[in-house]
């Protein structure tokens, strides 16, 4: 490697790694925060579900028919029987959320349903169910009651069944299931993490040096401008990669918690070493490209702040491209999609996580990203040579 590139790279890395606060806020903090946040959210979700599962609905019933009483008993559903004359009083209790549900059956429900002919065109017996949409428990009770009644209605006119018994009907393997979740979430998250990693270091290193007047000191040395550009991009990419990796590890570790699957196997263990290797290659080429893009934008800016606001539109574009991973059926099949920067990486990641990886697409994406990066380095070199850009006041 060219000695100047190496010297510049070493300096950039020393600037970063000797600064404990910077290491903490750029590398450790993102992963830690994501892990803590997602784990907290996951735990909160599951404790809420748990609470709901253990909750006993407060259901009042008037004119409870025997048939329904039996089913409710079998389902361990407690029904408090009240006189039909107290209907208004109980309805008010539902309104005040003292009772979750009030069910008012027709007086001779069992006889009426037995006698009723659908073909007669008459009105069917009507069960009145009063609930309170503002209460989560009332909604739960309502859903439970509707299901119970639907099931009972089904048994009255049972003509056919489906998916009876213990057989396995869902043909997706466990792997594919996990893959489809990962391939819709991770490409987007990884792209965002990588971008914010680049964002944390590149403006500081280019616009920051301009702002503090240290870049001029560098430019009067015989170090080639192209070498300075390459040294900076190499070092910044490495740091951005570490920052992105930290966020990714935080996510992967907390994903089982947020998806509430616990120990049942939702983890990244379904992927092989080769998959991770390919992922690293994709991510590396993406980071090089992103760092170069942000560096070029930063070189136009006079201050770090200005650089950050110039980069914001690019951030939105990258964000949108990341979101596309969540839609559509798997990765794109046509080769030309893999020449579009950023989109090619997202699509490759989708393919990788859903076990549809294509060697050709990965090579296309990496080679095109590398070409874009070289083009970017050339631009950055031109900018370092341009006094109007470097010394604009």
């Amino acid at each position: 490697m060219n000695k100047t590139i190496f010297t510049i790279m070493k300096k950039e890395l020393a600037r970063f790694f000797r600064d404990r606060r910077m290491v903490f806020s750029t590398i450790l903090l993102p992963g830690l925060m994501i892990f803590v946040m997602y784990t907290f959210m996951g735990t909160a979700f599951s404790s809420q579900t748990e609470e709901q599962e253990n909750y006993r609905f407060r259901i009042s019933v008037a004119d409870l028919p025997q048939s329904i009483e039996k089913i409710a008993e079998a389902q361990n559903l407690e029904l408090a029987v009240v006189e039909p004359s107290r209907a208004d009083e109980v309805k008010k209790q539902v309104k005040d959320q003292e009772v979750d549900l009030f069910v008012l059956f027709p007086q001779n429900f069992d006889e009426e349903t037995a006698a009723y002919q659908v073909s007669s065109g008459e009105e069917a017996p009507n069960v009145e169910i009063y609930y309170n949409n503002a209460s989560m428990h009332s909604q739960g009770a309502y859903d439970t009651m509707i299901q119970l009644l639907d099931n009972y209605e089904g048994t009255l006119t049972n003509k056919f069944d489906y998916n009876q018994g213990e057989k396995e009907y869902d043909m997706a393997t466990r792997e594919e299931e996990v893959g489809s979740v990962f391939s819709s979430l991770l490409p987007m998250l990884l792209t965002i993490f990588l971008f914010s990693g680049c964002m944390a270091v590149a403006p500081e290193s280019i616009a920051g040096e301009k702002e503090r007047g240290t870049i001029a000191t560098l430019l009067i040395t015989p170090a080639g401008r192209g070498n300075i550009a390459m040294g900076k991009i190499a070092a910044l990419s490495l740091i951005a990669l570490l920052s992105g990796a930290s966020s990714a590890i935080g996510t992967i570790l907390s994903l089982p918690k947020i998806l509430e699957v616990g120990e049942s196997g939702m983890n990244a263990g379904i992927y092989q070493w080769a998959d991770y290797l390919l992922l690293t290659v994709i991510v590396l080429s993406t980071v090089l490209l992103l760092v170069t893009l942000i560096s070029i934008i930063s070189a136009f800016a006079k201050t770090v702040k200005e650089a950050q606001s110039y980069v914001t539109p690019l951030m939105f574009v990258v964000l949108l491209i990341g979101v596309t991973a969540m839609f559509g059926e798997g990765a794109q099949k046509e080769w030309f999609y893999y020449l579009i920067p950023v989109y090619n990486s997202v699509q490759n990641m989708v393919a990788l996580f859903s076990f549809e990886v294509s060697g050709l697409h990965i090579v296309l994406a990496c080679v095109s990203n590398l070409l874009y990066t070289l083009l970017g380095v050339y631009c950055l070199t031109r900018m370092f040579n341009n006094e109007k850009v470097m010394f604009s006041k």
């Binding site: 000695k3 100047t4 010297t7 510049i8 300096k11 020393a14 600037r15 000797r18 600064d19 040096e209 503090r212 007047g213 240290t214 001029a216 000191t217 560098l218 430019l219 009067i220 040395t221 015989p222 170090a223 080639g224 006094e387 010394f391």
Partner: protein
């Protein structure tokens, strides 16, 4: 005597923004900062560029140091052209101005090593030079202190040491004693005289008459981007004090001082 630096018809103009036009009370979009400046500096001499603020001193020096490109004209420094062999010029020139800052996060030791590496100085030579320069400027005690924690004078001395890592044959120094206390200023001017003794060529720009009278062999007076007078210090003075001669020349070239 060997000509170490030759500026030939250097020109540089800048585009003015609407605000700058207003401030300078002019309708012209283009401001000519340096207008066909030519001069020579010889080996082992200190050449002074004297002129008021805004005369074009700094712009001239920045062109000589290859930080900016002349619109026309050229300068040859120790055989290398600022237009054609900018990288060679950078290897031969040490440029020091207050606009060149050091990264405050690093220590003088680290920065000296970093810039030595960029100039591809062998490790052993680096160590000798580091010791010599750090001793001269009294940096040794602070060699491992972050630049951010140093005093203004010490920062200036570290900048000076760092700009000399490659032992340049030509040293270009913009306003060498600006903002320095009397003690540090003395160390710097003594050092410039020492560089001269060691056969280096030194170019300084300043508006301080006494500094020119004290250290310069030859002087060029810049007024409004043009060289108004250039020659040996005694010839320019012509029996008067430099200050009196300067105002004579200024009135002759630019007219009223208040203009």
């Amino acid at each position: 005597m060997k000509v170490m630096l030759e500026a030939k018809e250097l020109c540089k103009s800048f585009r003015l923004s609407a605000r700058e036009q207003k401030l300078q009370k002019t309708d012209q979009r283009i401001k000519t900062a340096v207008d066909h400046i030519s001069f020579q500096a010889y080996e082992g001499e200190i050449f002074g560029l004297l002129g008021p603020n805004g005369a074009g001193k700094t712009t001239t020096l920045r062109m000589l140091a290859t930080l900016i490109r002349p619109d026309s004209g050229d300068a040859i420094l120790d055989g290398a052209s600022v237009i054609k062999d900018a990288e060679q010029v950078r290897a031969k020139v040490g440029f020091l101005t207050s606009e060149l800052k050091l990264e405050e996060f690093f220590t003088p030791n680290y920065l000296f090593g970093f810039f030595s590496e960029l100039h591809q100085i062998p490790a052993q030579v680096q160590e000798e030079r580091r010791k010599k320069l750090f001793d001269i400027f009294g940096i040794s005690k602070f060699a491992e202190t972050k630049v951010a924690d140093l005093s203004t004078g010490m920062k200036q001395k570290v900048s000076l040491a760092v700009s000399l890592v490659h032992d340049p044959s030509i040293i270009i120094f913009d306003e060498p004693t600006n903002g320095l206390d009397v003690l540090t200023a003395k160390i710097v001017t003594d050092f410039l005289l020492r560089l001269k003794e060691e056969k280096h060529t030194v170019i300084v720009s300043t508006h301080i008459f006494s500094l020119i009278e004290k250290i310069c062999d030859r002087v060029g007076i810049i007024i409004d981007g043009k060289i108004a007078a250039c020659g040996a210090l005694d010839a320019i003075r012509d029996g008067k004090s430099l200050e009196d001669r300067f105002f004579d020349i200024y009135l002759e070239k630019a007219g009223d001082i208040n203009e």
